[in-house]
């Protein structure tokens, strides 16, 4: 079916519709990874966005249940250059078209995705709408979409109730990790479990005290969609968790929330970082990690109170802050995705570090008491 993608700036490109035959719109972002479309589509951080894949062939290996990052397809729509109509991979259970159709998510193929990418790169992230009919009408619909920062995306993707992760760690004495779920990826939970954590997910609106009352040995601040400035309550929660001095580890949105809790700002990048090839330098060692990234917002280094926190990782491409650490406390976060999925697994050490800090926390009686006291008072 002939359809179009229309951007709010008036740009219109034709394509062929597949997936669900429905119109849809959202903030358009491009992802430069050459593998991992399934992980991206099921990553809650993409909620409400229109994802453009720059790789020319998408759908080649079908859909594999084990590679789902959540139970749903999150983007509002998907745009590709060439789409594989059939699936051949021996282990695949389903095809991209089928999964999108079932999820009610439309997709557009045969689009000049490079032209679209260049437009976003040069003009910045913008809203777009895909559908059939009069292209000018689609442009107007794109312009009428609510800006991303006006929507509380986190509440749409967080767990509705407190729940334990479906996987249990092997071994004795697992570390109790509370996840502040803003739309967490399954592979983050799995990495934690692999490191010996028992993981409990808390809805994003859970007060800090309620989380602390479960006596976690570490709290994980998850990734998630939307503008971090949109969530002052989450920032307060993180501030309280910081005060409790429980080990804290944040990824992506979790990193932005931690920064804001420390008093830093967040700004919107022109077109974000979405890909699996982003070089990040770990300042302590000088070593570079190739990372998986997916964010539109960033923490300006100069807004970070230098007496409270220091920058630990920076992007080699644009020097933006990719990681920070609270001074004198086991609390840190990264802007990129050390859990990979999709992308390189160069940064898995961060999970090990989190576990080491929880071990120290466990060994160190006094903060443990403090935590209990805090829990009692809460």
């Amino acid at each position: 079916m002939e359809a179009y993608v229309a951007l709010e700036n008036g740009m219109v490109l034709p394509g062929q519709m597949f997936g669900a035959p429905l119109p849809a719109g959202g903030e358009v972002v491009f992802h430069t990874g050459m593998t991992g479309y399934q992980e991206i589509l099921t990553d809650p951080s993409y909620a409400g966005q229109v994802v453009v894949f720059t790789a020319s062939h998408i759908g080649n290996y079908g859909i594999h249940r084990q590679d789902h990052e959540s139970a749903r397809i999150h983007p509002a729509a998907v745009i590709v250059r060439d789409f594989c109509r059939r699936t051949f991979h021996r282990q695949s259970e389903s095809g991209l078209d089928q999964v999108l159709r079932q999820a009610g998510v439309p997709a557009l193929a045969d689009v000049d995705t490079r032209a679209l990418t260049v437009a976003i790169r040069d003009g910045g992230t913008c809203r777009g709408y895909i559908g059939t009919g009069d292209p000018q009408e689609l442009v107007r619909k794109a312009q009428a979409l609510p800006p991303i920062h006006e929507v509380d995306w986190v509440s749409r993707v967080t767990t509705p109730r407190v729940r334990a992760h479906t996987r249990e760690p092997d071994g004795d004495a697992p570390y109790a990790v509370a996840v502040l779920d803003c739309g967490v990826k399954k592979s983050i939970l799995d990495r934690l479990v692999d490191e010996g954590c028992r993981v409990t997910l808390f809805p994003a609106g859970t007060p800090a005290a309620d989380i602390l009352a479960t006596l976690p040995e570490g709290v994980f601040l998850s990734n998630g969609p939307g503008d971090p400035a949109r969530y002052p309550n989450l920032v307060s929660t993180v501030r309280e968790l910081l005060d409790a001095e429980v080990p804290l580890f944040g990824i992506c949105l979790g990193h932005q929330l931690l920064a804001r809790a420390l008093g830093a700002e967040t700004i919107k990048l022109p077109f974000g970082h979405h890909g699996a090839n982003h070089p990040v330098q770990r300042l302590a060692t000088g070593r570079v990690e190739i990372t998986s990234q997916n964010h539109n917002y960033a923490v300006p280094a100069d807004s970070l109170p230098s007496h409270l926190a220091e920058v630990t990782h920076r992007s080699l491409n644009d020097d933006s802050v990719e990681g920070l650490e609270v001074i004198g406390q086991a609390a840190y976060s990264v802007q990129f995705h050390p859990e990979a999925a999709p992308g390189p697994s160069d940064s898995l050490y961060l999970f090990q570090r989190f576990v080491q800090d929880m071990e120290t926390f466990r060994q160190n009686v006094s903060p443990y008491r403090k935590l209990k006291k805090h829990a009692a008072s809460g």
Binding site: L13, F30, T32, G33, M34, T35, G36, Q38, E39, T54, A55, S56, H57, N60, Y61, H64, Q66, D67, R81, D82, C84, R85, R86, F88, H89, R90, Q91, D110, D112, T113, R114, A115, T117, V118, R121, D122, G275, A276, N277, H278, P279, Q281, G286, R287, V288, I290, L316, N317, A340, A341, P342, G343, P344, S345
Partner: protein
Amino acid sequence: MPRRADLHTILVLGSGPIVIGQASEFDYSGTQAVKALKQEGYRVVLVNSNPATIMTDQDQADVTYIEPLTVEMLERIILAEKPDAVLPTVGGQTGLNLAVELAETGVLDRYGVELIGATVESVQLAEDRQRFKDTMTSIGLETPCSFLVSSLDQAEQALEAITFPMILRASFTLGGAGSGIARNRGEFLTMLREGLAASPVGTVLVEESVLGWKEFELEVIRDRVGNGIVVCSIENFDAMGVHTGDSITVAPAQTLTDRQYQKLRDQALQVLDAVGVVTGGSNVQFALDPDSDRVTVIEMNPRVSRSSALASKATGYPIAKIAALLAVGYTLPELPNEITGCSSACFEPSIDYTVVKVPRWSFEKFPGTPDSLGTSMQSVGEVMAMGRTFREALQKAMRSLELGFDGWESMASGRSLAQLKKDLANPNQNRLTDLHEAFRRGLMPEQLHRLTGIDPWFLDNLARLMEIEGRLRGFTLSELPDELLREAKREGFSDRRIARLLPWAPEPAHDFSPRQVLDRRTVLVHAARQASNLHPIFRRVDTCAAEFASETPYLFSTWETGPCESRPTDRSKIMVLGGGPNRIGQGIEFDTCCCHAVQAIRQAGLEAILVNCNPETVSTDYDLSDRLYFEPLRFEEVMHIVATEQPRGVIVTLGGQTPLNLARQLDQAGVPLLGTGVEAIDRAEDRDRCGELLGQLGIASPRHGSAHSLDQALVTAAHIGYPVMVRPSYVLGGRAMRVVYEPDELRLYFEEAVKVSGEHPVLIDQFLEDAVEFDVDAVCDGREVLIGGIMQHIEEAGIHSGDSFAVLPPYKCTAEQIDLMRRHTTRIARALKVIGLLNIQFALHEGTLHVLEINPRASRTVPFLEKATGQDLACIATRCMLGFSLAEQGVVEALPSGHTFVKGPVFPFRRFPRTDHLLGPEMKSTGEVMGIGRNFGEAFARAHLAAGQALPAAGTVFLSVNDRDKDELLPIARELSDLGYHLLATGGTARFLEGQGVPAAVVAKVGEGSPHIGQAIRDGEVQMVINTPLGKQSRYDESAIRREARALDIPCITTLSGGRAAVDGIKAMREGMAGVVSLQELRARG
């Protein structure tokens, strides 16, 4: 930390002559490395024996040696230049092997030279199969399971551990004897018995078969602090079992999930760590079982490679350059990504297009060799194509191959379906066209997957092309819907291919040839497309899928509507058309000429636009030209570039036959061609017109005629007089050429020639027996002529000029004869109004100078002459084409340097063990070396040494010549005997020599008792062979002798003039070889 300040002089090792498996990609890599190190302020000393390379250009390295790549020569160079370090990793396996030898012989320690970019340990570890396997096991990675078996009892252990099919390889046998695939116990036991018997050490390696698994390659770079990146993933279209150099490959990998890909990525980085690669680029190959997800490591190369050159061209990431900088101490994060100019080199390229590489083979040159692809590489070149989709790229690759394809297609072969299936199941060079035929005949992707092991994703994409083909067949041009035309173009269908697919009304009876009809239809398709406003745009190769703006002008065409990224300037531009895929007869020499032209154009203040489709070349380095178009060298594509760039002129005479074939069409389309006119080219290339020209000038040439039938041929040959040279028309590189001595032979051979020639007549020329051949290269500005050099061939006329040793200056002819060649050349150049390069082949026959061939274009010998004389002929020629006369340029003929330069050919016979190694009018060599000496003998000996066939300083020489040659053999034999060599000969020759008082021992012919000559050679009792062809009856015997000799790299000389030259060479060696001399030093002295 910046670059190392403790290093000052770095010795870079080149890879030597072009051979199968080690071709011009190492000139690309080496040139990048030299350039990068020089820019860093190091004094760079380069050594390579191959004069056809860009890296040996005098202005590349600070000091350039064209010397044999042996430890002895390197030691002399090290002694003279006192380098602080040696960089071996851009010189292929040759470079690495030399590095190990330099270390093992203590040369490095002796002179305090450091190895950079690799360690001896890591090179050895990567090469030693067992140690590599053990290392992989120790870090938890899998390799194919294997056992070394020396008895039937031990075999049980292997049988328990490995499932069928399994591969058996008898140890230390040549050419794969005693090896094969066992599919069941019965086959296994039979093959094992045979293998144990065949193996001189009585062992057989029994290995798990990964045939049919998917094959992947990762190109990895690592720096000294441990940062590692994967530059590119490459997926083989062909399943495991076909050497990766012979596989059609695709980048990026297409059929892996992220989980699978990351597993390969992690393992690749682990492999580098385990092998101990401290810095630089490496290539790691994997096999993946599509059923179980099991991954095994196949091998790794701790150096830049053919694949890394491909990866560099595919992504835009300059691997060799970065590897060189890492070797001198930089770390990845310290280096910028030069393509974007705004991001870091420490990242992994992302590409938003698909790259397809298709190899090109020359099986027809090696009769007796089955067209079957296996674990030994046989292709002689390759093309790469880029498109937004795999389908578009594949069609472009097919067009780039220059095998007459207009896209993915096939001719009806008339094979039975069963035969077709059999051919598909056994990979051969026609696999893409066979797949096309299979689809046309209704086979389904699933069936084809089972037959070929090719991943269904690729086959499904082929099926999609086939589907569009089917739809195109359903419309005449006037009914063809716009959308279908648009879709077909987007899917890579060329105008010509579309013209062939559409149904057309029957042509009215007239005189047009099928080709003319097709040309006319193509024009109509083109017009329809123009009317629908359908044209391609150009996209940039930017390493980052458009995430960052790129200023680097590296472009490919695609059929999309978005903005065109070519961004041509309004400056005055000259476009150079490159040479396309390497093949025997057209290789690196032409690329070198094109690169020089680009340099000359830029020096003249103009913009240079380069078009080529060969990823192995320096010309396709984005650094070279102002804009690089990586496109098929076909009329349609070239015209699109011309339309975009509007060049002031196009150069077609430097890239060999490929661009020349486009000349007439481009000229007719109104494209301004620079240099010698199309008319003059035609006059030189058309035999009759050329004969006429020579007649007018009063210059002799061999008598010639042509024939359509045997009867005609016999009459023509009788008229000309035997011997005659018989060859098909319209073929390149002397294909199917033969010298025929008598009518019976002509009867025998004519049929074959007709087959190759098709509807064209078979050409019959007078064969100038025992003539001495010369090659003259010259530059003409339309009026004045500059002689670039006159080379004398060492072999007689009848051996293809590309396969002959040649010497500059001529060593056996008179000043009058040389003067006559000059005058002839000048007159011919003026008569043809040549502007640019001109090559003429002369033959001196019974005192008369004949012109054999006139080529008004760059020739294979131009780079050799440039190195020997220091005169950059291709640059001078380019300036002539730009309108600068020779006088304006102020160039005069180079003075003799006082040295002698010998060009030596290098042959791929080892790869084709079943073919005869005899030389003839059909070119078979893949590359060349240059030997420099104070006299002919020394230069000849050095050329032999450089070609890997060192002349022996002592020992036994086997002589076997035909009766015609016996008298001439005598002085050679006598001198060898006087020099202390033992002579060995078969009965007739031995008796003749004894009769003349030259002692010679008798040895039996092959098959005439034991020990025979074949065994003697194999046992190392012979150090040199002089064997001229004896005639048909003993062919088998001789070819066996030549084969044995080649297998042991024993010089095997098949002409008496070669034998005489060898004696001169040996005498020179005995007197002591001179020291090494750099090109720069030669020039300074000259």
